[in-house]
Symmetry: C2
Subunit: 471 residues, 2 copies
């Protein structure tokens, strides 16, 4: 397996011709920015890479405007990089070949709520928290929740998931249809509001997870769920990580419909306690949530408590009020930023492997052994109910040797996950960082098929070029 | 909207050259058949079309053998049509451009059961009933159940669903990974056994539902589910279809996790009673099933009974024993064949529209009004929990006028479903019959995108050509 940086040949940046920039300025006025600070902010993300800023940023307000930008870009062979809130972890937003950034954050309207069908259509710039605020009085909610308050466009582009995926699935399971601006600037709709369909190729799921490389998603129709009659959250501490993981494995194998089952190691809890002013016991912990009827929730939690007890878990500590529950989950969602503060000036390199549940203990235990041996600060959170966890190193970006060691450890983690029949990325996507891992995971035939699709749908290679695979 | 037959230009059949046939015979021996009866059986399905037989049928026993056939076909530009048990309803199996049929029914091995991960890998020729028989002692089951005892390859190819989809999703939700023989004869794997992944384009879901037009699926990794602790099935009769539909809508909107919620109209029940020797009341009926813990099942069924009572539903009649339950569902699954017997010599034209649940009553009521007015025998079954139903006409194939009227009624049903934001096919696929409907539903931009993908992955147009769309 190659270290990622070997596989990023310095491709020439493609300039934005003056005629195109003029056309964009004429159309967008102030909403076409070439200010250094704006460009810089749009050419990075939460990744370990240095920014590679786009030439201009377009603050689009409609699908028609996005189509206008893409048509211009197609005419001039200029790259187009969609931007939501900039929370990508894998370098998706870097303008490695130059081009323009299409900022969708102003496309933040709820287009159509169909509470009676449990669906909603939103513009791509709506964030997950905004969506849940705006549909609050319908009695419905949207469960997918990556750590950041990402946009639904960004979440669709990376096939995101989060803490609720163990029960509600990922973006692939919850996007019904998309409005997409294709690489030639034409606009299409990839599905209807029907709950299921066998009408031709599943374009919706081809675009979900395509990381902006096949087109720009501008509107998204999502599934919603009735707010459960009862919700209860609990924490349970364990002596060793392995005990927490074994508990999770049994819960999943027994088919308990647990809604959330999150692992935090002692390092993560230490960070979270400090950042969110909590007093959680600083030991490996499962943070769980149960959804259902009053009786159903009681039944599920009794089963899980019994399993946890069998692995030396302490008694459950319940979040007694909705406020307490919200506080716990907010702390969990902010764990990434909490951890960053544990080593000032550091950068965070997060793994994202996901393996079949029976292999999870082996995968985590070996990774922890390596991390302990390295002496580099690290922390673990994991959507362990799905077999997915993030072991993240806090590394000094100026310490080249340390960065190289972290990369080696990462490669080892990915190799381990692949050996255990898993994937290099459960939810963050490939972006720049995982391109060599994808090749190892999927093999040349599958990646070749992806390339063929890319060439067919984006013959000029203008849609977020240089991501997922080299062409 | 055009009548389907207008859009099937008579494309020339592409001959299988003698050199290719010789190579196939040398490799397959007796398992390469050119017997008229065998070819004829492989060039039809359960569709209304007359058979268009392939030139030869290859009974393949491994992925390597399938790859051998496809390489030969690629070298000679000859169409390849995958075949499972021949239960397609939309003409998928017709060799409209000639070519060879790849019969996968002998690829019926269970490759790997991973009960501890709730996954199984099977060869494409394993049928759904065989799978459930073979995993019986693991305590797990595979829920997707189209009417026929189809192969898992065929079910993947058409993105099938069935009666359990309301709770367990369709094939798109339950296929984790595929082994695919591409159009050039190379073999790829489209995923891992991890429960979720963001590793590049979602090739798995691109192939699921591609109806054999992008490659031949030879192995399939599926999700399994723990057999529920408690299962109970009940029937409930209603005075009018609308009452049954309104009950369903409320059940879904309330978020009751009902496992199965099937509508049968009085005509369907009459057929089923006669064919399966049952004594169900010949009135519109919901056939339901609840999965969960003992308490959960009791709770769900109490909620549904209350809703049904509000719509004039009679008391629930419970299937008291597992045998009784199996008998009821077997009758439901055989309803297609039961209905065919109601008009000897007839052919059956089934609609497959699926609409958002709030539009279901309007969609069914108007379709019933048209059917009643037509005077042509019809019957309705529906996976109404998903907004999907089949109104099927029993028509005299020799009565051209009647066939034309049925087609007009079908077109009207599709138009209605599209107006109600639904789809022309919930689970049967496009095949030959629904090609013009797909164009109406998805629009030229989306169908154009599908065509581009097809051309990129199958440049010689040998994989089941002439289906889904014209090239």
């Amino acid at each position: 397996m190659n270290a990622p940086n070997d596989l990023h040949p310095r491709v020439e940046r493609r300039p934005v011709p003056a005629t195109m920039l003029d056309a964009l300025k004429a159309r967008f006025g102030e909403r076409c920015s070439t200010a250094a600070a704006v460009r810089d902010q749009h050419g990075r993300g939460e990744s370990v890479y240095d920014a590679a800023p786009p030439e201009a940023v377009l603050f689009c307000e409609s699908t028609v405007e996005v189509a206008f930008v893409v048509k211009q870009a197609a005419a001039h062979g200029v790259p187009v990089i969609p931007f939501g809130v900039g929370s990508s972890l894998e370098g998706h937003l870097l303008a490695v070949q130059g081009g323009v950034s299409v900022d969708l954050s102003r496309m933040n309207r709820i287009v159509q709520i169909n509470a009676e069908d449990l669906t909603v259509t939103v513009e791509a710039g709506v964030t997950r928290e905004q969506l849940n605020r705006e549909i609050k009085d319908t009695g419905l909610f949207f469960p997918i929740d990556p750590g950041a308050n990402a946009t639904l466009g960004g979440m669709s582009a990376t096939r995101a998931s989060g803490t609720n995926a163990v029960r509600y699935g990922t973006m692939k399971d919850n996007v019904l249809a998309l409005t997409v601006v294709s690489a030639d600037g034409s606009v299409m709709r990839t599905g209807t509001r029907a709950k299921k369909s066998s009408a031709g190729y599943d374009l919706t799921r081809l675009f979900v997870g395509s990381e902006g490389t096949l087109g720009v998603m501008t509107e998204i129709t999502l599934r919603l769920y009735p707010l459960p009659e009862a919700v209860s959250a609990a924490t349970c501490s364990f002596q060793r990580i392995d005990d927490a993981v074994q508990t999770t494995i049994e819960v999943i194998q027994m088919g308990v419909p647990i809604a959330r089952c999150e692992l935090l190691d002692a390092n993560a809890i230490r960070a979270v306690n400090r950042h969110s002013k909590l007093t959680l016991r600083e030991a490996p912990m499962l943070l769980m949530e149960f959804h259902g009827s009053e009786a159903g929730v009681a039944e599920q939690s009794a089963t899980v408590q019994e399993i946890a007890r069998g692995h030396g878990g302490t008694d459950f500590e319940w979040a007694r009020t909705p406020e307490e529950r919200t506080r716990l989950w907010k702390a969990r969602h902010e764990s990434y930023f909490a951890a960053l503060q544990m080593r000032p000036g550091c950068r965070c390199q997060s793994s994202d492997t996901c393996v079949p549940i029976s292999r999870l203990a082996e995968c985590i235990n070996e990774s922890v052994d390596d991390a302990e041996a390295s002496g580099i600060p690290y922390w673990i959170v994991g959507h362990v109910g799905d077999g997915n966890f993030h072991l993240s190193y806090l590394m000094d970006p100026d310490d080249t040797a340390e960065c190289a060691r972290v990369e080696d450890l990462n490669v080892k983690m990915v190799q381990r996950a692949l050996r255990l029949e898993g994937t290099c990325t459960g939810e963050h996507g490939i972006g720049l960082h995982k391109m060599p891992y994808l090749l190892d995971e999927a093999g040349p035939a599958a990646v070749g098929t992806m390339r063929s699709i890319k060439r067919a749908l984006d013959p000029k290679n203008i849609m977020n070029p240089g991501k997922i695979f080299t062409l």
